[in-house]
C-alpha cells in the first residue's frame, strides 16, 4: 500500500512539473513545433557564445538539423562548439537542473535574459520523444571527452544519466578536438523556412556576433556558412551594482535582510551604484531612517520610505536627492564597423551605414542603442524593409509589431531619406534592411515571451535619434548615387554615343570622321571628377584612383581633397602626387592647371584595411568652377574638425595652413550650427547636409 501512495505522490509531482512546462510553454518558447526548434537552437547557440566569450575563445559553432521521421515531425538537432567544454561533474547541473546558474541575479548585459536555458531543451526532448539528450564535452586539460546521456527526473528536478563514459573526440581531419561541447537532441519539432526560421535566427546571430564563425547544415543537407569577420572578441562585460532608480521593493527588502552591513550608510554605498556617501546620508534623511540603523532590522515602512527617497518622491529640502548615473562600461556594444561587417556579410549589397549612440541611462539602467542600415541591389524594392531586432545581441524574431524597436522605426518619416512609406508612417518599403540593437543591463520586455521590447519614451527617443542620423546618411548616399548616375550618363554620351554618331554619319556620307573635341566640350561644359575605390586582391590594399576631366573651354585650377579612413588605422601609400594632410582623414592635392580637354589621373593605395572596410571615397574641391562628382569644401566644417582634433590631442599638431582663413568669430559662430554628435566629428558631416 505504501508503494502505491509513493507512486501516486511521485506521479503528482511529475504531473506538476510537466504541467508547469505545458502551461508555460508559450513563454518558454515551446508553444509550436517550428518555434520549439528555434528555441532549442537558440539555447544551444547562446550557451556556446556565452561560454566562448567568458573563456575568451573565438567561437566556431556548427548546427545540424536532420529530419528523422517527417511524418511524425521528429527532428535531431546537433550543435557543436569550440568553447571551453564543461567538466564532467558539472554536466548534469548544466543540463539537468532547471534555473541553474547565476544569470537571473547578476546585473550586467547578458544573453541569457531570455529562456530557461538548455535544461528546457532536455526536458522538451524527454517529454516529446522520451529520449535523453546526448552530450559530449572535452576540456583542454583532459585527453578524452566525457560522454553522457542526460534526462530529467521531473520529481526531483535533477538529472538522470545513462551511458556515461569517455571517448577520444576525433575530428574529420583525424586530429583530436582540443576543447568544445556537442549536444545531440531528438525532439518533436518542425523545420520551416522564412522570416521565423532557424536559418534566419542564425543569420541574425551572425550579424551581431561578427567574431563568431557559424555553419548551419539544413535538413536538405545544404550547408550555410557565415564566416567570422573580426578577430576581436566582444568586450568583457562587468557586473554592476543596482542603481536606486531601477530597484523594486521586493529586491530592496531582500538586499536588506540578507545584508551583513553594520549600518545603513555603508549598506547604501556598498550595494548600489551612483550613491556617494553624501547621497547616502541625504537619502536616509529624506526617508527618515537613522544613519546607523542596521539594514537587517529595517521595518516594512522603512523599505517603502527608502524606495520613495530613491525615486525622488520623498525629498530633502524640497529637492530630490541627487544621484550619480550608473557606470556604463558594463555594456558591450557591437560597434559601428563590426555591425557594418556583420551586415554586409549576410546581405550582399552596396551601401551600409551604422550608428552607435553613446551609452545612457533610463530608470537606473544603463543602455545603449545601435542601428544599422543596408541598402541596395538584391533586396526587394516593393516590399517592406527587413527589420532586424536585437536585445543584448540576441535576435528577436516574434511579435515585431508590438516591439519598441519597430515602433521607433515606424515613427520616422523615411520618405525624406529616400524610402517609400505610405503616409510617412509605418515600416518603410524599399530594398533595405534596418538593424536595431539595444544593449542594456535590464532589458524590459512586453511579456515573459521576451520577444518584444516594452515601451519606454526615453529609449524610443534614443533609437529615433540614431535612426534619423542614419537616415541622413542614406539620403546623402542616394543623392550622391543619383549625381554619379548623371555623370556616368554624360560619360557614356561623350565616350560612346557621340563617337558612334560621328563614325556612322561619316560612313553613310562617305566622308572622314570629324574631330569631336569641340562637340564634346560643348556638351559637357563642366569639370568632372571620377573617383574609384577598389579592393586589390593581390596587394591586399584598397586602390583609389581619381580622375579629373576639364570639359570646358577654359583652363582651370583646383585643390582637390579626398576623404580616407585615417581614423580606422589606414596608411596611405604610393601617393605619387604628394599633397598634404588637411585634417585627420582628409588629404589635399594642389593640382597643376588643367587645360581645356585635358585630363589628369592620380592614384594612391590604402593599407591596414580589410576588404569591404573602405568602398567609397568622397571628393572635395577648392576652386571657382563647380566640379561634377565632387563637393565644394566646407571650410568652416573643416576648421571645426581641426578644432576638435586639437582639443582631443591636447597639442595642436595640425599644421595651420595659411590658405584657410576662418576668422575665430566665424568658428565660434559655427559651433552652434555643427550638429551635436555623439562621437567625433567625421567625414559623414561633409558635403552639405542641406
Amino acid at each position: 500500500m505504501a508503494g502505491t501512495a509513493e507512486r501516486m505522490a511521485s506521479n503528482q509531482k511529475q504531473v506538476a512539473i510537466s504541467e508547469f512546462f505545458e502551461k508555460n510553454k508559450h513563454f518558454l518558447g515551446f508553444d509550436s513545433l517550428p518555434r520549439s526548434l528555434i528555441t532549442a537552437v537558440k539555447e544551444a547557440v547562446d550557451n556556446s557564445l556565452d561560454a566562448c566569450e567568458e573563456a575568451r575563445i573565438l567561437p566556431e559553432i556548427k548546427i545540424q538539423i536532420t529530419k528523422l521521421d517527417s511524418n511524425k515531425d521528429i527532428i535531431e538537432l546537433k550543435s557543436e562548439d569550440n568553447g571551453p567544454g564543461i567538466p564532467k561533474k558539472s554536466i548534469e547541473k548544466v543540463f539537468g537542473q532547471l534555473l541553474f546558474g547565476s544569470r537571473f541575479h547578476a546585473i550586467r548585459q547578458s544573453r541569457g535574459q531570455q529562456g530557461i536555458g538548455i535544461t528546457g531543451v532536455v526536458m522538451y526532448c524527454q517529454l516529446t520523444t522520451g529520449r535523453k539528450t546526448h552530450v559530449r564535452s572535452k576540456i583542454a586539460t583532459e585527453t578524452s571527452a566525457a560522454i553522457v546521456d542526460i534526462g530529467l527526473d521531473t520529481r526531483k528536478n535533477k538529472a538522470t544519466k545513462s551511458g556515461e563514459g569517455r571517448e577520444l573526440w576525433e575530428l574529420p581531419d583525424g586530429t583530436l578536438k582540443e576543447h568544445g561541447l556537442e549536444i545531440t537532441a531528438r525532439m518533436k519539432a518542425k523545420y520551416q523556412r522564412g522570416r521565423q526560421s532557424v536559418y534566419q535566427y542564425l543569420r541574425m546571430t551572425s550579424i551581431v556576433n561578427p567574431h563568431a564563425d557559424i555553419t548551419f547544415v539544413d535538413p536538405d543537407g545544404e550547408s550555410h556558412h557565415w564566416p567570422r569577420v573580426t578577430e576581436r572578441l566582444p568586450r568583457k562585460v562587468e557586473s554592476i551594482k543596482p542603481h536606486p532608480h531601477g530597484i523594486h521593493l521586493g529586491t530592496l527588502q531582500r538586499m536588506c535582510t540578507e545584508s551583513t552591513d553594520s549600518r545603513m550608510t555603508v549598506f547604501l554605498r556598498n550595494n548600489f551604484s551612483g550613491v556617494s556617501s553624501r547621497a547616502a546620508k541625504e537619502l536616509l534623511a529624506a526617508a527618515e531612517i537613522e544613519e546607523k540603523a542596521k539594514p537587517k532590522l529595517l521595518k516594512a515602512d522603512h523599505y517603502r520610505a527608502l524606495l520613495e527617497a530613491f525615486q525622488g518622491e520623498r525629498m530633502l529640502n524640497d529637492k530630490p536627492v541627487k544621484l550619480l548615473n550608473p557606470p556604463t562600461n558594463c555594456l558591450s556594444p557591437i560597434e559601428e564597423l563590426l555591425i557594418k561587417k556583420g551586415l554586409s556579410k549576410t546581405i550582399d549589397s552596396r551601401y551600409v551605414t551604422t550608428m552607435t549612440r553613446a551609452p545612457t541611462v533610463t530608470q537606473g539602467n544603463p543602455y545603449q542603442v545601435e542601428v544599422g542600415l543596408i541598402f541596395g541591389d538584391g533586396m526587394a524594392a516593393d516590399k517592406p524593409v527587413e527589420v532586424l531586432r536585437f536585445a543584448n545581441r540576441v535576435p528577436l524574431m516574434y511579435q515585431q509589431g508590438g516591439c519598441l524597436l519597430t515602433k521607433a522605426i515606424e515613427s520616422v518619416d523615411w520618405r525624406q531619406y529616400g524610402l517609400d512609406q505610405a503616409g510617412g508612417r509605418g515600416v518603410p518599403k524599399g530594398p533595405a534592411a534596418i538593424l536595431v540593437h539595444l544593449a542594456s543591463t535590464n532589458v524590459q520586455f512586453t511579456s515573459e515571451a521576451k520577444e518584444a521590447l516594452a515601451d519606454n519614451a526615453e529609449v524610443i527617443d534614443e533609437v529615433r535619434k540614431a535612426l534619423l542620423e542614419m537616415g541622413r546618411g542614406l539620403r546623402k548616399h542616394l543623392e550622391k548615387k543619383k549625381k554619379m548616375a548623371k555623370t556616368q550618363e554624360k560619360f557614356e554620351l561623350v565616350n560612346d554615343i557621340i563617337p558612334a554618331i560621328a563614325a556612322k554619319a561619316a560612313s553613310i556620307l562617305d566622308r572622314p570622321v570629324p574631330n569631336l573635341s569641340g562637340s564634346i566640350t560643348r556638351i559637357m561644359g563642366a569639370v568632372i571628377a571620377e573617383p574609384t575605390t577598389a579592393w586589390n586582391k593581390e596587394t591586399k590594399q584598397t586602390d583609389v584612383s581619381i580622375t579629373l576631366f576639364n570639359y570646358t573651354t577654359r583652363a582651370r585650377s583646383y585643390t582637390l581633397l579626398a576623404s580616407w579612413p585615417e581614423r580606422d588605422g589606414a596608411t596611405m601609400v604610393n601617393n605619387e602626387q604628394g599633397g598634404r594632410k588637411e585634417a585627420t582623414g582628409v588629404w589635399a592635392w594642389k593640382l597643376d592647371t588643367l587645360e581645356p580637354g585635358q585630363t589628369i589621373t592620380f592614384t594612391y593605395s590604402l593599407t591596414g584595411l580589410e576588404r569591404g572596410d573602405w568602398t567609397d571615397t568622397d571628393i572635395f574641391y577648392r576652386g571657382s568652377q563647380e566640379v561634377i562628382g565632387a563637393s565644394k569644401m566646407d571650410e568652416k566644417l573643416l576648421e571645426e574638425i581641426r578644432r576638435q582634433e586639437a582639443a582631443t590631442t591636447g597639442e595642436d599638431e595640425v599644421s595651420q595652413d595659411e590658405e584657410v582663413e576662418a576668422a575665430p568669430e566665424a568658428v565660434s559662430e559655427n559651433n552652434a550650427e555643427v550638429p551635436a554628435k555623439t562621437g567625433q566629428q567625421t567625414l559623414m558631416g561633409f558635403g552639405g547636409d542641406e
Partner: protein
C-alpha cells in the same frame, strides 16, 4: 500628285540631308542635331491649298546633349543606313522586323517597338518621304471593302488581277493591301453612289447581311477602329478619282470623333502627309450626340478619360467649326456615349431600314 512615292535617289538624298545636319554640326564643334516639326495639336494648321491640316512652322531641335536624345540620333543613323541597304537590295521589312534587326545595332538599338515606329515617322516628317519610300511596312493589315467597284491589283508575280469587290470576293470582302499606290492598285470602274466607312466589324457585317450595299448602291469600307494609312489612302483615292461622296459611320464617343478627324482632316501624328491620306470631303454620319437623344439609344456614362478627351477636342483646331463644337459640348452635357450597335435595341433591321436611310436623306444621298 496621285503618287506619294519618291524615287530611290530622291529618298536617299532626303535621308542624307538628315545625316549631313549631324555631320556638319560636329565639324563646327557643336553637338549634332536633328531638326523636326513639333508633332502636337499646337502645331497643326489648316492648309487652304490642300484642304487638310498640316504641321505648322514650329520646329524642335533634338540635340545630342542628353543621353536619351543622343541615342535617338544614333538610332536615326542606323535606320538611315538600314533603309539604304534595303533600297539597294530591293527588299522591304516590317517595322517590327526593323525593331528586331536593331538588336545588332549595339548602342543604337531600340528599347521598344514604339520607339522604332516613332523614329520611322520622325524620318518621314523630316525628309517628307513616306515610309513606303523607306521600304518599311506597317504591321497592321489594311481594311476590308465590299461593293460594286472594280480595281486591279498587281500580285507578287507582278501580274495585274482584276477584282470586283462584290462579285469576286467572299463574305469578308476585298482585303486592302498595305501599299495602295498606283504601281500596286488601279481603280477601274464602279456603279455606286457613295462610300460608307464603318468603324466596327459587327456593323460592317450587319450591313452586308442586310444587303445594304446593293439596296443603296454604295461601297462599304471597314475601318477597324483607328484606320491604317492604307485604308485612309484608298478611301481618299476612291473619293478623288471617282468623285464619290464619303460618309463615315462610327460609334458616338470622343474617340470616334478623333477617327473622323484623322480621316477628313488628317491625323496629328501623320500631318506631314495629310494631303495623301485625308479626305476633306468626308461627312460624319453618326452616331452623333443628338442621335443618342433623338433615337433614345442605350448609352454608357462618360468616363473621366472620355471627358478629358472631349475637352481636349474643344481646343483642337480640327474641331474648330461650330457643328463640332456643338456636338462635343452636347456630349459633355449629356455625359453619355453610345455604340453603333446600340441601334439593335430596335431590332436587327432598324439600322438599315430606318436609321441610315433617315441620316442619308438628310445628306441627299437616299
Amino acid at each position: 500628285m496621285m503618287s506619294a512615292m519618291h524615287t530611290s535617289e530622291e529618298t536617299k538624298t532626303a535621308l542624307h540631308a538628315v545625316v549631313e545636319e549631324m555631320y556638319d554640326k560636329i565639324v563646327k564643334g557643336e553637338p549634332p542635331t536633328m531638326t523636326l516639326p513639333v508633332r502636337t495639336k499646337n502645331n497643326i494648321g489648316f492648309d487652304d491649298k490642300l484642304g487638310v491640316y498640316k504641321y505648322g512652322k514650329k520646329r524642335s531641335i533634338r540635340d545630342a546633349t542628353s543621353l536619351g536624345s543622343a541615342k535617338q540620333l544614333l538610332r536615326a543613323l542606323h535606320v538611315v543606313e538600314f533603309i539604304e541597304e534595303m533600297i539597294d537590295a530591293g527588299k522591304s521589312s516590317t517595322l517590327r522586323e526593323m525593331y528586331y534587326i536593331s538588336e545588332a545595332w549595339g548602342l543604337g538599338k531600340f528599347s521598344s517597338q514604339n520607339e522604332s515606329n516613332n523614329l520611322a515617322e520622325d524620318l518621314e516628317v523630316v525628309t517628307k518621304c513616306m515610309r513606303e519610300d523607306f521600304k518599311l511596312r506597317p504591321e497592321e493589315d489594311g481594311a476590308r471593302m465590299i461593293g460594286n467597284l472594280t480595281l486591279r491589283e498587281r500580285n507578287r508575280r507582278g501580274e495585274w488581277m482584276r477584282i470586283n469587290a462584290r462579285d469576286d470576293v467572299g463574305d469578308s470582302g476585298y482585303g486592302v493591301p498595305y501599299n495602295v499606290e498606283e504601281e500596286k492598285i488601279e481603280l477601274l470602274e464602279h456603279d455606286i453612289n457613295f462610300i460608307m466607312a464603318i468603324e466596327t466589324g459587327g456593323m460592317f457585317d450587319r450591313l452586308i447581311e442586310n444587303g445594304f450595299d446593293e439596296a443603296y448602291k454604295c461601297g462599304l469600307l471597314h475601318l477597324k477602329g483607328q484606320p491604317a494609312r492604307s485604308t485612309r489612302r484608298i478611301l481618299k483615292r476612291m473619293s478623288e478619282e471617282w468623285d464619290l461622296p464619303v460618309v463615315v459611320f462610327l460609334d458616338g464617343d470622343p474617340w470616334s470623333f478623333r477617327i473622323f478627324a484623322s480621316i477628313a482632316y488628317g491625323a496629328i501624328k501623320t500631318a506631314h502627309i495629310s494631303e495623301y491620306l485625308a479626305t476633306p470631303s468626308a461627312t460624319y454620319l453618326g452616331i452623333t450626340a443628338d442621335d443618342i437623344e433623338a433615337y433614345d439609344l442605350p448609352s454608357d456614362d462618360l468616363s473621366s478619360r472620355d471627358e478629358d478627351a472631349l475637352k481636349a477636342e474643344l481646343s483642337d483646331p480640327r474641331f474648330a467649326d461650330p457643328w463640332w463644337q456643338e456636338q462635343i459640348n452636347m456630349m459633355l452635357e449629356l455625359g453619355k456615349k453610345a455604340e453603333q450597335q446600340s441601334l439593335a435595341k430596335y431590332g436587327l433591321d432598324f439600322v438599315t431600314d430606318t436609321y441610315l436611310p433617315e441620316k442619308l436623306a438628310d445628306l441627299g444621298l437616299a
